[in-house]
């Protein structure tokens, strides 16, 4: 049967997500949030999720809905601060000890995901040496500099926002939408892409930014979710 990765709806694309999954969610700086998929995941409501998302609180992302719905056990991110002086729902859960948080420097966050998808279990980075964020981690000197050992991140599901797809799942991204998409898609065993449109013709190879071999399911959404 010829390959066709289209799925009719976000709900169908996420029907088999299990409790306890580690879920990657793309998006940074206001671009590339898979909000249709995030909302469908909230409705599907698997529990005890670990979210791997750059910001737990970005105002354009619906990530907070998963947290507020009580589906999330742990968040791995580089930004977890609410925007107002009052505590955000996430910060309240954190204060009450009801959610676990791992805060990583953003480049370590990105590289740990990249390593996860590239068969590298851990790697040394100079970032964070001598700071609170790497306390307790192994430090090793190479040449005249100290480096800290960081472990790769792998997961069960990646929710990726892209611009267009073809039937093979090849993806293109608009501008800064690309951010964590390629790395997250390599590190998850199930990759679901939310795209503006699916092209019936194959995307020319020089325009493909993420090869479709990494992408399992594609959902076309006409409009962005709120």
């Amino acid at each position: 049967m010829p390959i066709d990765k289209r799925v009719k709806s976000a709900a169908e694309a996420l029907a088999d997500v299990a409790d306890g999954s580690t879920v990657f969610i793309t998006g940074f700086g206001g671009a590339g949030f898979p909000n249709v998929l995030i909302r469908a995941l909230r409705e599907r409501a698997p529990r005890d999720l670990t979210l791997v998302v750059n910001s737990a609180t970005h105002r354009y992302s619906l990530t907070h809905e998963l947290i507020e719905a009580g589906l999330v056990r742990k968040v791995i991110c580089s930004a977890a601060r609410g925007h107002s002086k009052e505590l955000s729902p996430f910060e309240q859960l954190l204060k009450a000890g009801k959610i676990e948080l791992v805060c990583l420097p953003q480049g370590t966050f990105a590289e740990s995901i990249r390593a996860g998808g590239a068969g590298i279990p851990a790697y040394y980075t100079p970032v964070g040496v001598g700071t609170d964020l790497t306390r307790g981690k192994e430090v090793r000197r190479f040449g005249d500099r100290d480096y800290v050992l960081e472990e790769a991140i792998k997961g069960e599901l990646a929710l990726v926002r892209a611009d267009t797809s073809d039937l093979y799942g090849n993806l293109t991204f608009r501008y800064a939408q690309v951010n964590f998409g390629p790395a997250m898609a390599t590190a998850a065993s199930l990759v679901v892409a939310e795209v503006r449109a699916v092209a019936s013709e194959p995307i020319p190879q020089e325009r493909v930014q993420l090869p479709g071999v990494y992408v399992d399911r594609v959902v076309a959404v006409r409009e962005k979710a709120p």
Binding site: F28, G29, G30, A31, G32, N54, A56, T57, H58, Y60, S78, A79, A80, R81, G82, L87, S88, F90, E91, L94, K95, L101, C103, L104, P105, Q106, G107, T108, A110, E111, I113, R114, T125, P126, V127, G128, V129, G130, T131, D132, L133, D163, R174, Y175, A176, Q177, V178, N179, F180, G181, P182, A183, Q209
Partner: protein, 227 residues
Amino acid sequence: MKPLNRRQMAWRAAQDIDSGLLVNLGIGMPVHAADFLRPEVDVFIQAENGVIGAGPLAAADKADPDLVDASSRRITLRPGASIVDSAWSFAMIRGGHIDITILGAFEVAANGDLANWDMRVRDKGPLVGGAMDLAACARAVWVIMEHNTRKGDPRLLERCTLPLTAVRCVKRVFTDLAVVDVTPSGFVVRDILDGLTRAQLQERTGAPLSFAPDCRVLAPPPLPDAE
């Protein structure tokens, strides 16, 4: 003479940026430096989200929600710009390909330690973003910050009191009173505000200052303060 306002501090930092460099500008005062580059200077500005060649902010009718910088500002691209993904963007930062990063800060120590990410606000979630990557790995780390806190405490210190972003990384600090280099022998003043005495500057600084032989007067053009 009055201390420099925020735009004037950004102006002063911009005067030290040379042509052909790859520069990353942090949130807040540093991003304004892009507005004050010397006219002959041609640089690429990198944003952590992967934009290489960020241009000015987009006009409201041209703004594109997918074309943003690391501060979620809707921007334009300069000619020759490109965009890479986040893993590549930070590989670029860690790999030492950023010539200069200009960051905001709370404190800088005489050994170059930087504290700019955690003010220890009770119960608020942490937000580190790309600050540690830039501070640890850019070839030159510059800081723009007010010389003193609102309470009048010095921000240039023997040792930082707030959690560190990176150790021994800062090379130059642009404040509202002075331009200060961080050297193996501590803080060296390169520019001092017109009308301020060396003793007055020392009084407002939390670590010993020495003064460059060619220490200049800091006299910015009049500029309206940033919002």
